[in-house]
């Protein structure tokens, strides 16, 4: 897999110590990462009023919500908060058997001239981000699109750059990295776990109970 040009994604299994199976981020570590990302967002943008945080279900939704709360806390800014399901934009529907269930999409306003920050739990092949960007374009013409991922586990298959990464977690393709606890109850504690591969393909990241 050729690594793309973005420095954030230069992850190889030899350069970074490999995490063992188990919890790799607990709720406090997640919260710390999201606070750091909030600061990075504030640093990067002069004008925060046009920000539109869009969570990709299921995992991205509570993360976007927490991120919005963090921004409110550190910069006293109210961001728009949306939910964008990417299922209908996936590139692998035709080749498979049963169709995956659709998830919620709630975009409270158009994205025209806004800076949209897509929030996902685990960045991996880049295909979900690609689908999310296509979906986003159906809601208007954003001024810019940036991407937050709580975890980046590498193995990119598309030239997708993650702008804000909570933690790089090198992993085997066969392993799974999942965000647990993502539910409609946004107060529920979250944790990221690395699961040993069952010998199947690279699959992960729908959030436990998706």
């Amino acid at each position: 897999m050729p690594s793309d040009s973005a420095p954030q994604t230069e992850l190889t299994e030899s350069s970074v110590p490999h995490e063992g199976p188990g919890v790799v981020l607990d709720d406090r570590a997640i919260q710390r990462s999201l606070m750091r990302i909030a600061h990075e967002i504030v640093e990067r943008h002069d004008d925060l009023t046009g920000l539109y945080l869009v969570g990709i279900p299921n995992g991205g939704v509570p993360l976007a919500r927490r991120l919005a709360a963090n921004l409110r806390e550190i910069a006293d800014v109210e961001t728009l908060l949306g939910v964008l399901d990417t299922t209908l934009y996936r590139d692998d529907l035709v080749s498979r058997g049963e169709r995956p269930p659709l998830r919620r999409t709630e975009m409270p306003s158009a994205v025209d001239d806004r800076i949209v920050i897509l929030v996902d739990d685990v960045a991996h092949t880049g295909r979900t981000i690609r689908a999310a960007m296509d979906a986003l374009m159906d809601f208007g013409r954003p001024r810019a699109v940036e991407v937050v991922a709580l975890v980046d586990r590498g193995h990119r298959e598309l030239p997708i750059r993650i702008d804000y990464v909570g933690k790089n977690i090198p992993s085997q393709r066969s392993e799974k990295v999942v965000l647990r606890g993502a539910s409609e109850d946004f107060e529920a504690p979250l944790e990221v776990v690395l699961l040993p591969g069952a010998g199947g393909g690279a699959v992960e990241g729908r959030g436990e109970g998706a």
């Binding site: 209908l88 035709v94 049963e98 169709r99 269930p101 709630e106 092949t125 393909g201 690279a202």
Partner: protein, 315 residues
């Protein structure tokens, strides 16, 4: 979870109905967007095979397919294909050679979608066959009731009119029963199908008794030409005994809704003002039709021949 074809509600399990309704709920959001089109079925071909004219249903499937970016081909014949001595299997084989990803079949004779499905590789969606089933209509009716009442379980649903010849009634009987509702039928006795109680419904000859305490009153279209004089004496007598108006509706629950699969014979089965205003939800039914059919096409069209696990996403 869901089979290859959608031939009738009789074949579905409750979980499958719920999956379709939940999917339709998501599809409704797509319909509210400014760009009402998603690329999901790009490069897929859906054939609308209509042996019986039905602008409403065909258009609804066509819009649904197009919103999912499928190519929709209308293959309408006037039902005379068979008079031209083309057998159903010939039609099916001809279609199969065109390699469609889904075939939507409407026919005036019960069972034809099943016969075509047996001969085709592509999934077949029944868009109404004779007096047998009209599954997508029942599903959109369920969706409408679900949205209105936030449940189906425990509701009382009364279906009024020509049950005997109605595919909508049959599909709704199966659908509402499977979703936990009580289903009652009301019609002049010749229009109550023989042995219908075996399906788990109760039939009434008194409209008042049938709608007493009902949450939903579903009124069926009366085909005057076919029925008058043979199944009831006159339209006037039918309208007086089984036509629904606000006075008769008082026996139903205060928040009862009125449904009709359309098109309405105003003043026959349904009073004029009931057709247009609350508690009638007829236009909601139509709106839900597109989203529901998008859901069905999403779940069935172009699926790999063998059922597999849900595709796991590679992020």
């Amino acid at each position: 979870m869901i089979g290859r074809d959608l031939l009738g509600i009789e074949d579905l399990e409750r979980g499958e109905i719920e999956l379709i309704l939940e999917t339709a709920e998501r599809m409704k959001e797509v319909g509210r967007r400014e760009v009402k089109k998603v690329p999901t079925l790009r490069g897929r071909t859906i054939v609308n095979l209509f042996f019986e004219p039905s602008t409403r249903t065909r258009t609804s499937f066509e819009i649904a397919g197009k919103r999912l970016s499928a190519d929709v081909v209308n293959f309408s014949t006037s039902g005379s294909s068979l008079k031209k001595a083309e057998s159903i299997l010939d039609t099916a084989k001809t279609l199969d050679a065109m390699d469609p990803d889904a075939v939507v079949v409407r026919h005036q004779v019960a069972g034809v979608p099943k016969q075509i499905a047996d001969a085709l590789d592509a999934p077949v969606i029944n868009a109404g066959d004779g007096a047998h089933e009209h599954p997508t209509q029942a599903l959109l009716d369920l969706l409408t009731v679900w949205e209105e009442k936030e449940r189906v379980d425990g509701l009382t649903v009364t279906i009024v009119g020509d049950i005997l010849h109605s595919r909508v009634a049959r599909s709704n009987i199966y659908g509402f029963l499977k979703m936990g509702a009580e289903v009652r039928l009301a019609a002049p006795p010749p229009m109550i199908p023989p042995g219908v109680e075996a399906l788990g419904v109760k039939s009434y000859t008194s409209l008042r008794e049938a709608i007493d305490g009902a949450d939903v009153v579903m009124v069926l279209r009366i085909q005057k030409e076919r029925l008058e004089g043979a199944f009831f004496p006159s339209i006037r007598e039918y309208a007086a005994t089984f036509g629904l108006d606000r006075a008769k509706l008082r026996y139903a629950k205060d928040d009862a809704i009125v449904m009709h699969p359309g098109p309405v014979n105003r003043g026959v089965e349904l009073a004029h003002d009931l057709a247009d205003h609350r508690p009638s939800v007829i236009l909601d039914q139509v709106r839900n039709g597109v989203a529901l059919r998008m859901a069905v096409l999403y779940l069935l069209a172009g699926r790999a021949p063998k059922d597999g696990e849900p595709a796991e996403e590679e992020r």
